[in-house]
């Protein structure tokens, strides 16, 4: 059972994630957008959207730190587990609640603003369930876990398991030792990854960092556009 959940499922989901993005980029560049609804409503968006996005960027950074950097490295540079845990929980909880609060504003806005609600697709709704579900499970695990006397050190179980997936030597036994909250959070996250390339979340990968370095005015020749004939179906 553990092998199925923590070896087979992650590999399937990550494969879908990678191939899905490649396929989507090739097939659907035109549909690759943020699908902004700011035109319809901006008052709530101006609070909710930065709160959510900056929050989730912090959360993402925290996950990179917690999952990818082994505990031995941080103790080697002299950061004790207790200190690490304190900082991670404090920052993570703040960022997590920012994210959740921002998302709450955005969902409230989406439901109550007429034009925004009409522009919401089924795809969006599925994405919201997966995304908010994952965030809640993660935040819940952190908060509840820290209310008990001895919080679980996920850097000895979840993190090595997560890294082992990428070495192609998956060790589901590590994950088996983790509390149920972590397991559910991880599974929800993989479900989200599998759905990611088919949702509006693809806009994460178009973060326009090139803007910082490119010249202001872009010139392009007609030649630069790939040849496409009128009778070709765009593919």
């Amino acid at each position: 059972m553990n092998t199925l959940l923590f070896v087979v499922v992650p590999y399937i989901c990550l494969t879908v994630f990678v191939l899905g993005h490649i396929w989507r980029y090739r097939y659907d560049k035109f549909g690759w957008t943020t699908r902004s609804s700011q035109l319809y409503e901006r008052r709530l968006l101006r609070i909710g959207s930065p709160l959510f996005h900056f929050g989730i960027l912090l959360v993402a950074l925290g996950h990179i730190g917690g999952l990818l950097i082994p505990e031995s490295w941080t103790s080697y540079v002299g950061i004790s587990e207790a200190a690490y845990h304190f900082v991670a929980v404090a920052l993570g909880t703040v960022a997590g609640f920012c994210t959740l609060f921002g998302a709450a504003i955005l969902i409230y806005r989406r439901r109550t603003t007429g034009p925004v609600f009409s522009a919401t697709t089924v795809n969006d709704k599925v994405m919201y369930v997966l995304l908010i579900g994952t965030i809640c499970l993660g935040l819940g695990t952190t908060v509840i876990g820290n209310l008990t006397s001895e919080p679980h050190d996920y850097r000895l179980t979840v993190s090595p398991w997560f890294r082992s997936i990428f070495y192609f030597q998956p060790d589901s036994d590590l994950m088996a030792q983790a509390p149920i909250g972590f397991k559910l959070h991880a599974l929800a996250a993989f479900a989200l990854f599998a759905f990611w390339p088919f949702s509006r979340l693809v806009h994460v990968f178009s973060a326009p960092l090139g803007y910082l370095t490119r010249p202001y005015i872009v010139y392009r020749s007609r030649d630069a556009v790939p040849a496409r004939r009128g009778w070709d179906r765009a593919l």
Binding site: F30, G31, Q38, R222, R228
Partner: protein, 546 residues
């Protein structure tokens, strides 16, 4: 010197009757799809008025265009690259749909399927955003012909500098129309604002386009454009803008707005300019110097040195010849009667305007004096300071001198040509008073009053050897509405996902052939057919003929 070619337009405002034909035909051609109901690539504004979207000229609010920073360097008024990225999650300067208008349709179905009742059923307005009943409160030309100006006439941004006491009088005496399309600027701030680099200026003809495959919907271009001529398609989540009808231009026919203009007030032609001089010209210190600075960026195509340099830069021979015949060049740099729209935005706009003399003429005529007499007209231009100041705020960043000079030239042309038309001797003191010769005045008159189709539109076709294929981006099939015959509308990821439908360039080529050929070969006018015989082209050839 780095010579580049730019397709440019001049509009003669004296001839605009405000009929909106350009807007309507443009909309039919480009924006009759869902998601762009509120989008008018071409719109006609009544001035004084708020424009579309409302008060778009108020750059203290919208922060569009460029400005000089403290060190005198050109920077985006809306903030630099870092600020753009930090505010990317909620663009602080994006106009809301209410600044445009909420698009609507009418519930016509009730007219046919309402049950028998005492009162006549009515078609109620329904919002195209929510599908719910709505109250229609504003549109793209709600203040057309100064409609409702008692209520909101004071909201015109340009009236800020004009004293309150004269406002009312001013509105009564002075009104004209301003058709607007994308300016296809030499220094486009929309392109500079685009985080994804999706907006580009075409190297061959300077047309500014949005690459629909690269646009990610960050909306910074909408805020960046001071003319608010980039629009956000709220269904596809992509920016769209006037394309200068590039598929038509590429085969040598004018834009839809020009083609259908009832007053024939639009001129299209090439301008050659020095791309290396653009930044310096856009950075001159005084706002009043921007008009002259931009004029100096343009190169004289008749100058052999310029022509040689252009050829070295890879501009084809027939394009250089077209630039020499360009009516736009003549109006901007030869007769100097065309002025740029809001040069103070420092984007170096490329759709220029001949300011209207007719309101001045009307005032003179209304007072009972001879409205074609030079003395009367010059005196009126002198006396009508407020209209001149208003025009100066539109076209020369507030400097009345160039506007004054243009109006005097137009007045001189009127008086001079009247003498000729009445069979009197030409009075050479009239052109001399505005620094022109009689011959120049006559040529200008020809261009403004008589010019035929091929003189108003000098458009060299794109070269096949330059482009392996013509571009086929920017829009989808207009039949792709829900359940429409195109039916390519919705992909699996929402509105219009999948590739955009290509525009069939062949159609434009055929359209041009049809418009320019002398005979009706291949087509039969059924109205002229008496039903006898077999006119050529009516039926496919018989088998034995083949």
């Amino acid at each position: 010197m780095r010579v580049m070619a730019q397709m440019a337009m001049v509009m003669n405002l004296d001839k605009c009757i405000g009929c909106h034909t350009c807007s309507v035909t443009c909309k039919q051609a480009w924006t009759n799809r869902s998601g762009v109901e509120y989008v008018w690539f071409n719109n006609v504004e009544t001035r004084p008025g708020q424009g579309y979207p409302r008060r778009y000229e108020d750059q203290e609010t919208w922060r569009g265009g460029w400005e000089l920073n403290r060190r005198g360097k050109l920077k985006l008024k809306g903030g630099g690259r870092f600020k753009k990225l930090l505010t990317i999650f909620a663009n602080p300067k994006l106009p809301a749909i209410q600044d445009y208008y909420e698009p609507w349709t009418y519930d016509y179905e009730t007219l046919t399927n309402a049950p028998l009742q005492e009162h006549t059923p009515v078609a109620r307005p329904k919002s195209l955003l929510t599908g719910k009943d709505m109250k229609v409160q504003w549109s793209a030309n709600w203040d057309d012909d100064l409609g409702g100006s008692i209520d909101h006439g004071d909201k015109d941004v340009l009236l800020k500098g004009i004293a309150d006491k004269v406002k009312f009088e001013f509105e009564q005496t002075f009104m004209f129309y301003l058709p607007r399309i994308c300016e296809h600027c030499l220094n486009p701030s929309c392109a500079a604002s685009c985080p994804s680099g999706a907006i580009y200026k075409r190297a061959e003809d300077g047309i500014v386009l949005v690459d629909q495959d690269r646009c990610r919907g960050w909306r910074m271009c909408v805020s960046g454009c001071p003319y608010k001529k980039v629009y956000f398609n709220h269904r596809t989540g992509k920016a769209e803008k006037c394309t200068f009808c590039f598929p038509r231009i590429e085969v040598g026919i004018p834009t839809v707005c020009s083609e259908t203009c009832v007053g024939r007030l639009r001129y299209i032609g090439l301008m050659l300019y020095d791309a290396d001089a653009v930044l310096a010209a856009a950075s001159v210190t005084g706002d009043h110097d921007l008009y002259e600075a931009q004029r100096k960026v343009f190169l004289d195509p008749a100058d052999p040195a310029v022509a040689a340099e252009a050829e070295r830069a890879g501009i084809p021979r027939d394009w250089i010849e077209a630039a020499q015949r360009s009516p736009v060049y003549a109006l901007i740099n030869k007769y100097k009667v065309a002025l740029p729209l809001h040069p103070e935005y420092r984007t170096m706009p490329m759709v220029w305007y001949i300011p209207p003399l007719s309101p001045v003429v009307d005032v003179v005529r209304d007072t009972g004096y001879d409205a074609e007499d030079r003395g009367n007209l010059f005196a009126a231009i002198e006396a009508l300071r407020i209209p001149v100041d208003y025009l100066a705020q539109l076209f020369t960043a507030g400097d009345p001198a160039p506007v004054d000079a243009v109006l005097r030239k137009l007045a001189a042309m009127r008086s001079y040509m009247r003498d000729l038309n009445m069979g009197r001797d030409a009075d050479d003191s009239i052109p001399a008073a505005v620094g022109m010769t009689g011959e120049q005045i006559y040529d200008m008159y020809r261009l403004l009053a008589l010019a035929k189709y091929d003189e108003r539109y000098v458009i060299p076709p794109a070269h096949a050897e330059q482009a392996h294929s013509l571009e086929e981006l920017a829009t989808s099939c207009s039949l792709d509405y829900e359940g429409g015959p195109g039916m390519g509308g919705s992909g699996p990821f929402g509105e219009s996902s999948g590739g955009p439908q290509p525009i069939a360039v062949e159609n434009f080529q055929m359209l041009k052939d049809r418009q320019t050929s002398d005979s009706l070969s291949g087509r039969v006018n059924l109205l002229n057919w008496d039903g006898r015989g077999r006119p050529d082209g009516l039926f496919p050839p018989r088998r034995e003929d083949q």
